[in-house]
């Protein structure tokens, strides 16, 4: 049940239309909770019906017309309760680790190229996160709690990408030069 809360968070940061939300998911919140525009529209409908958000009044509601949403008090309360709640970490799901396990059984033909590809993807993502960090969280100065929290989230992204880069590098070394 995380998508609605992701949307509430995004809308509290800034009221938006569905498409704007989609774009922001593509380059910010979506870094740790991705969603397509179809999911977002579906969820916006549900949240509106639940009375947690509302569309800003438009003169004539027409299909294809931009609709801007804002969070209602009930929505903020719901999000606040969710933040204070508990939820067990979901076991990870990595198709790549699974493929390596399968390779132990049927042979690792073709695996090396894929590891190299993933390595370069993760290196790219890591560089992107580091650029964001440099831009949005410069210097070591006293910061507000919201800023510290946002920085912690970004640090999570950075360290996770670093993990993948290191693991993939080690895996390539261990696999040996030829396969």
């Amino acid at each position: 049940m995380s998508l609605p809360h992701a949307i509430l968070t995004a809308l509290l940061e800034k009221p938006s239309s569905g498409l704007e939300l989609t774009r922001r998911f593509d380059k910010s919140i979506g870094y740790f909770w991705s969603a397509t525009h179809q999911q977002i529209y579906r969820e916006l409908g549900k949240l509106e019906q639940a009375g947690q958000i509302r569309a800003l009044p438009a003169p004539v509601p027409v299909r294809g017309q931009r609709k801007e949403y804002e969070v209602l008090p009930a929505g903020r309360a719901e999000l606040s309760a969710w933040v204070g709640g508990t939820e067990d970490p979901k076991p990870m799901r990595s198709a790549l680790l699974l493929r390596m396990r399968a390779a132990a059984v049927v042979g690792s033909a073709g695996l090396r190229a894929e590891l190299e590809r993933h390595l370069s993807l993760h290196q790219g993502q890591l560089a992107e996160y580091l650029a964001i960090e440099e831009r949005d969280f410069p210097a070591e100065r006293r910061r507000s709690e919201p800023d510290r929290l946002r920085h912690l989230v970004l640090r999570g992204g950075v360290e996770l990408e670093r993990f993948w880069v290191e693991w993939l590098t080690a895996a390539l070394a261990e696999l040996g030069p030829e396969e």
Copy 2:
């Protein structure tokens, strides 16, 4: 499309019944691709229909009777092709990072306790992985490729848990003593 390949891998390692598979998922393959028994039975049915596995001949097939499956050549070929293929890494999904981002907006009340809870869960998982490593991959000796691959997978699990332990520790320090 990873679950069928997880099952094929498990069945190649050892032909099993649905319930046995479920148990093995709970303590091995499931560490990086979890599944419930309902998912497994559903998928076994599909794989059998697709001619990739078969149930070992039973005298009289009755409901509630144990059914053991083995992989057919077509199944091994499919798994082999999948290992050699490509698949982009799925963007991560962490409800905990999302909650921290939400906390930056609505306040972090109650978050600290949850971080501590997750820290202890991840410490437990890390200890479990390290125990498995010590048991199954001792000493530094020349090993076969399958063993090296399996060890790499486990190293992935270890380092990922270590990431969480370190990030959670840093987050708790950054949040400060009281909240």
